[in-house]
Structure formats: C-alpha cells, structure tokens
C-alpha cells in the first residue's frame, strides 16, 4: 500500500504541475493594485465631487436639498451669505460648511439627483480605506474640485491606466 503510493508519487506531482502550466499560458486577469488601477464605468458612484464653474465660483448654493434627499442623513450643509468681499458662489447664498460622512454613505447617488445646480456628482474614486472613523468625514475641501484643475485631473487617482472624465447624466 504505502510502497505503491511512493512509486506513483512522481505521477501525482506531474499531474498537479500540468494544471499549473495550463493556467500559465492563459491571459492574466488580475492587475497590480494600487500601482495600476482599472478604469471604472463612466457612471460609477464613488466619492462625491463638488464642482465649480469655469470662473472658479462654487456651484453649490447650500440649499440642503442633497441633505434632505439623502436616505441615511450623512450630509450636513450650513449656508451663509455671499458678500462682495467674500464671494464663494454666484448669487446670494453659498455653503459655509459641507460635510459627508463617507462611512455612512451608501453611494446611492440621490444627492446628485436632488441637486438643482449639478453641484454635487458621484465621482469615480473608490479607494477610500483609512485607519480611523474620523477620517471618513469628508469636509468641503476634500470634496471640492481644486481651483485650477479640470475634473478629470483631480477625480481619478494618478496611475490609473485609462483616466476618463466623469460621465454626467445630463
């Protein structure tokens, strides 16, 4: 019994290795994350982006419609008044405080849908892991597009193979 198995051993090994070599020749489906990243679908609902107009003014007017539309209540907006010296958005009102608790967010996109000014959209970023719950409170600075850059430069982490602009639904 035992002797027979000892003699057949090399055969078993050969059989196992055959499986390995068979897969070696097939195309690779995994990629080296995070050095390389997959392109996400154009309508991916990742971390939110607060947009600006071409002149740099914020689109958000602090109307709180996203906050009331949000089914989990993870958005906090506090509005304030624009003054000629301190103009943040066109018109009278802007969001002084804008925070999203990304841990509570279910990435449903209702906020995007509710927004009357297309000020908030769901971006392509999904690499949101961090080491403390507090770090998941995205404040306005975390969400806002930087002043000089276009959306595609900022929204997708560098190193992504096929950076595409965020597809917008309108």
């Amino acid at each position: 019994m035992a002797l027979k198995e000892v003699l057949l051993g090399p055969l078993y090994i050969a059989r196992a290795l055959a499986t390995t070599f068979k897969h070696n020749t097939k195309p690779i489906v995994t990629i080296e994350y995070p050095e390389r990243q997959k392109a996400v679908p154009p309508r991916e609902r990742g971390k939110h982006i607060l947009h600006r107009y071409a002149d740099g003014l914020e689109k958000c007017v602090g109307c709180e419609l996203c906050a009331i539309a949000c089914p989990v209540g993870c958005i906090v907006v506090e509005a304030a008044e624009n003054t000629p010296e301190h103009r943040v958005s066109p018109g009278e009102r802007y969001a002084k405080r804008y925070e999203i608790n990304l841990l509570r967010c279910i990435y449903c996109g209702f906020c995007e849908e509710a927004c009357p000014y297309d000020a908030i959209t769901m971006g392509p970023r999904y690499d949101l892991a961090d080491d403390h719950p507090d770090k998941f409170i995205a404040v306005k600075e975390d969400l806002l597009e930087p002043l000089s850059a276009s959306i595609s430069d900022t929204a997708i982490p560098s190193g992504a193979p096929s950076a595409q602009p965020v597809a917008r639904k309108w």
Binding site: C63, E64, L65, A67, I68, A79, E81, G91, P116
Partner: protein
C-alpha cells in the same frame, strides 16, 4: 370665520354635507370637513380680498368659478373643489403667478415651508411655463434692520399690506405702481418702523419677506421645534423655539386666541440672541480674591455654609423671568430654611402688590365698550402685542382712550354713565392711578369696570402670586408684622448676604449706583444665573443655571394665565436650577426630595390651590378660591 348670526345653513361640498353658521366662507366650511382648498391671499385674521384666485371652486348654478375665500355659504349650495375645470384653473392661476416668480427656491429662506412651492407641486405645472425674460427687481432689499424684501418673489397677495392696515393699523407697507411693475414698499423707501414686522415673514406665502436674523440659518427640516412662551414681557405670547443643532434659529408664533391671537412683536420675536449659550461653564467660588472653578457639590456646600453664617440677614432677589417652580423653592428657601423675609423680584419701581383677581382678561378687551389706556404708548411699549388687540377691538367698535397717567380725569369725563363694560390698562408702575380711576369709574357708571395691569417680565405676576415680596407671603398672605425689607432698602438694612437668581438677561439684576457701592462691601453675594453679567465681579459664588429657553416650568402672564415653558435647547452639563436650590436648602438642614419639576408644580398647587389653573393653562383667580 366671520360668523354674523347663529342661523345654520347646510351645503354640500364634494358630495359631503356640512352644516355651518350663516356667514361662513366656503373655504372655512370646507376646512371643517377636512377638504383642502389651496389659498394664497386669504388669511383667517384678515378680511377677504380674493386677489390671488387660487381658491376658485365650482358652485352649482353659478356660471363661473367662485373664490372660496370670499363667497359666503348659502343653504343648499353645491360646491365642487376637485372637478376638471377647477383643476385646470388652479394650474393656470399658478402658471400666471409663476410668470414673474423666479422659483429660486434653493437660495430662498422660505424653501421647505413655502405655500407657493408646495402648491406648485400639488396643483400646478411644477415649473414656470413662461419662456420669456421675467421681470427683474433688486434681490433682498432691506426694508428695515429686521426684514429683507425680495420683490421678484412677491406674488402680490396683499397679505403684508393688509396686516399693516387691518392688524397693526400702521399702514406702513403699500402696493406701488401697476401691472408687472407693482411692488411692495414703504413710503419713500424709508426704513419700516413697525414693531410687528416679524409677522410679515410668517404671513407672506412666499419668500418675499424674510427675516435678516434667520437668513440662511436653516431649513425647516433641520429644526427642532419646542412650544414655549415669549421671554420678553408679561403678555405671555405663545412661541415656538426653532433650534438647529442646539442653537436657537428663530422664535415663531403659536396661536393662542386668548393671548396673542397668533401674533408676536419684534421685541419678543427677535430677542432670542440673548439666550444663545456661549460655551460651557463651571461653578466658581471666590477664594483669596479670585474666582476658582469648582464642582457643583463644592459650590453648593460653600454657598450653604456662607448662608448659614449670614443667618437671617440674607436677602434674596429672584428674577421675574424665573419659573413658578423656581420661585416657589426660592421663597421656601428664604422663608422656611433661612428664616429671612428680605425677598424681592422687583427692580426700580416698587409698586404695591395685591391680587389682581378681577383682572380683565386680555381677550375681553374686545368685549368692552370703552378701554382706557392709562399711560398711552408707555403701556403699549411694556407689552407691544397689546396694541394689536386694542386695534382689533377698535375696529370692532370699542372706544379706546389713550390718556397720560395724570389725566385720569379726562377719561373719567369722557366715559358716559351708561357704559356697560370698561377696561383700564396700565403698567405696574402706575397701578395706583389705575386703581383710583377704577374706583371713580365704578361709582360713575352702571357696568363693570375691570383693570389689567401690565406686570414686568414673563413671570412678574407669578413672582407676586408666589410671594417673592418683602411684605407678602405666597398667595398674598399677610406677614403680620414680620415683613422684610424690599430691594431699595437693602443697602441700609444690615443685610449680610445676597442671593440673586436669574435666567434671562432681559430681566436680570442690574445694580443701581447706590447698590453697586453696597454690593462691593457685602461679605456674601451668591449669583445663580444663566449669563455672565457685571455682577460676576462682586460675586463670591457663581452657580451656572439654565436659560429661560433651556428649562421646563410654568410662568404666569399679566392676566394670570399659567402657561408652560419648555426646554428648546439642551444644556445638560448645567444642573437644573430647582435642583441646585433644593441642594442648597438640604445642605442647610431641609429635607426636600423633589425628583422633577412636575413634583414641585404639584406641591405648589397644593399650597396655592388657585394655581390648579396650570392644568388648563387657564387664569389664576384668587377671588374664586376663597
């Protein structure tokens, strides 16, 4: 509802039959059976004008649609509010209203509580169908330091102008220009002066008139709403504290036909910044000249010890903005535990207090034939919403006589002997003049003569009822020669300590010059209060307490109505004022064991049975109990 006679008529609305008094509007009859007819211009406190046409309904046998807010019911009338034609008209009326309305709801402070917004979704096209340029006006024009006007949003419902004409009688707002150029404005664009402007923001059915204080502070869905009482005067107008994230955003009115008739004055409405809390604070005790932070236990022990040293020679001042429950404990602490009668709640004028049991109820002003306002504008300034009641009465035919305090004779001569019901209004300071005039009038006329004395502070009346007075105990009990000294005599009366309790900066202890001198020499000043004041500098103990807007309790207004105040803001790190008073008393040997405000109210009612009125928010009537 404009009921003119008691005859009943029966009509049918949407197939439902309803019986209402003759002279009822179709709108009110429909409301009675729960049928909602959309409105903009109609207001329950104002005469119908039917300018907005939103309320059109079908009435059988009438060729055209009729405005439900202006047509009175008739027997056998058949009204339909949901037909296709009505629906089409509602949609079109809204379409017309939206021609020049910007629909800028996202930046509008009314958004979320706006009748135009709601009805556009419910009955209208959902958006403006007008593709051409809209009429444009300047956004947010300041009408005064309190109100902003956005003329683009105005739908010309005339509510604000009618308020100014029919409710306050000041005729400050008017319609200017014609057609699409029509705007609301004041004469010559001068700032509005009215003391009732806050009401405009509440009656405006769009975001055209908004409060500057509340600008962009919150959305209605962020607000925690608490029913309470206005802290600013003794009228006791009912308010709602609207707070966002534990900070007061605004005071809104809450209708109580017996008191405020659904209005507030600006003094009360815009007084809330006084009650915003600035950070946390711990009790402090003065040691070697400087105040040190300590725990409540330590501060209470220190206070009790110091009070014991001062013996019966301590004086107590409790603010006329304290609750009845606090005043009840305060009075017991002094009378029973410290055995001191040096109690007071008054500031300047020391008016003689006696039960105003036959006081004229506020709402009965409308049912008098003659009302003497002794002191004229001074009385109105002391309780501004009284003016609205007086003006309403005047429009109903009541004769209002405004005379100076010394001109009682003029009123006496002017009132005919056959008058049926006479009212006299005066402030506390002029009570004697009012009592004299009342006596003289009672001799002259056949009918009843009643007075209404405007007390000081939201609970000035309660402070008197509960005996926060040197010469009278709770329930105006006589002290049989054991009377103490009043506030004005304290500086020369050998007082060795002072305990001040206040919870409203509007009715705090403000020392006069003479008192300041005296205070700095006092060996003990206990300051139990909500907000820091100059008294902090001389205090030996500072006990942080709750603000008027942060606690439960009852207050008694000028006519003796006991109403509840409730906690609109949480400040749970502050120990309840009644609990601190109880702990001080217990440290001095008492054995009180109250666990809640309700238990104190219960004891209060047992001691002063007329206060059973608290359960109905009714008036305390001293004469009926004896």
């Amino acid at each position: 509802m404009a009921a003119v006679q008691t005859d009943q008529v029966t009509l049918t609305i949407n197939g439902q039959s309803v019986t209402v008094p003759k002279g009822t509007l179709i709108l009110d009859a429909a409301k009675k059976i729960g049928i909602d007819i959309p409105i903009f211009c109609s207001h329950p406190k104002m005469a119908p004008v039917a300018v907005c046409r939103m309320c059109l309904v079908e009435v059988e046998k009438l060729p055209k649609l009729q405005p439900a807010c202006a047509v009175y019911v008739a027997d056998g009338m058949v009204v339909k509010t949901t037909t296709e034609q009505v629906g089409k008209y509602q949609k079109d009326v809204l379409g017309f209203l939206l021609i020049n309305h910007p629909l800028d709801c996202p930046i509008c402070d009314k958004g979320g509580e706006c009748p135009l917004q709601d009805q556009t979704y419910q009955y209208g096209p959902g958006a403006s169908r007008f593709d051409f340029p809209k009429a444009h006006f300047d956004k947010s024009v300041p009408l005064s330091d309190k109100i902003l006007l956005d003329r683009e949003r105005c739908i010309l419902c005339w509510r604000c102008t009618r308020f100014s004409e029919e409710i306050s009688g000041e005729r400050e707002l008017a319609l200017i220009q014609r057609g699409t150029n029509t705007i609301i404005g004041t004469f010559n664009d001068e700032p509005a002066q009215s003391n009732y402007q806050g009401n405009w923001t509440e009656i405006c059915p769009v975001g055209a008139l908004t409060s500057r204080q509340y600008r962009f502070i919150s959305r209605p869905w962020d607000l925690d709403r608490t029913a309470s009482i206005c802290p600013a005067c003794s009228m006791g107008c009912n308010i709602q504290i609207d707070a966002r994230s534990n900070r007061i955003g605004r005071f809104q009115s809450r209708e109580n036909v017996a008191v405020d008739d659904s209005w507030l004055c600006d003094r009360g409405r815009f007084s809330f910044p006084n009650f915003q809390r600035q950070g946390q604070e711990r009790p402090r005790v003065r040691r070697n000249g400087s105040l040190e932070e300590v725990s409540y236990e330590e501060a209470i022990a220190f206070t009790a010890d110091a009070l014991k040293h001062a013996g019966g020679q301590v004086a107590g001042w409790a603010s006329p903005a304290d609750t009845n429950e606090e005043l009840f404990l305060f009075s017991r602490l002094f009378r029973e535990v410290l055995k001191s009668a040096h109690l007071d709640h008054r500031s300047g004028v020391v008016a003689d207090a006696e039960p105003d049991d036959i006081a004229l109820p506020i709402a009965d002003i409308e049912r008098c034939d003659q009302v003497v306002v002794l002191g004229g504008q001074g009385v109105i300034d002391a309780a501004p919403v009284l003016h609205l009641r007086l003006f309403k009465s005047e429009r109903k035919g009541v004769k209002i006589l405004k005379v100076g305090v010394t001109e009682g004779k003029r009123a006496l001569d002017a009132i005919p002997a056959e008058a049926q019901a006479i009212g006299i209004l005066a402030t506390e300071a002029d009570k004697q003049a009012a009592v004299d005039l009342q006596a003289k009038l009672a001799k002259k006329v056949k009918g009843s003569v009643r007075r209404l004395i405007v007390t000081t502070g939201p609970n000035g009346r309660g402070a008197k009822d509960l005996g926060i007075l040197p010469h009278q105990g709770p329930g105006y009990a006589s002290l049989n020669g054991r009377a103490g000294r009043g506030r004005l005599q304290w500086p020369g009366a050998g007082v060795k300590g002072l305990y001040v309790h206040e919870s409203s900066p509007l009715h705090g202890f403000v020392p006069s010059d003479a008192e300041s001198m005296w205070l700095s020499t006092l060996p003990l000043v206990v300051f139990h209060r909500f907000k820091a004041s100059p008294l902090d500098e001389v205090a030996h103990v500072i006990l942080p307490g709750h603000a008027f807007t942060e606690k439960y309790g009852t207050v008694t207004n000028m006519e003796g109505r006991v109403q509840r105040i409730r906690r609109g803001i949480d400040a749970e790190w502050v120990r309840e004022d009644w609990r601190v008073l109880q702990q001080v008393a217990n440290a001095l040997g008492a054995s009180w064991a109250y666990e809640s405000v309700e238990e104190i109210t219960g004891d209060l009612v047992r001691e002063l049975p007329p206060y059973a009125a608290v359960n109905q928010e009714a008036r305390v009537l001293w004469s009926e109990s004896t």
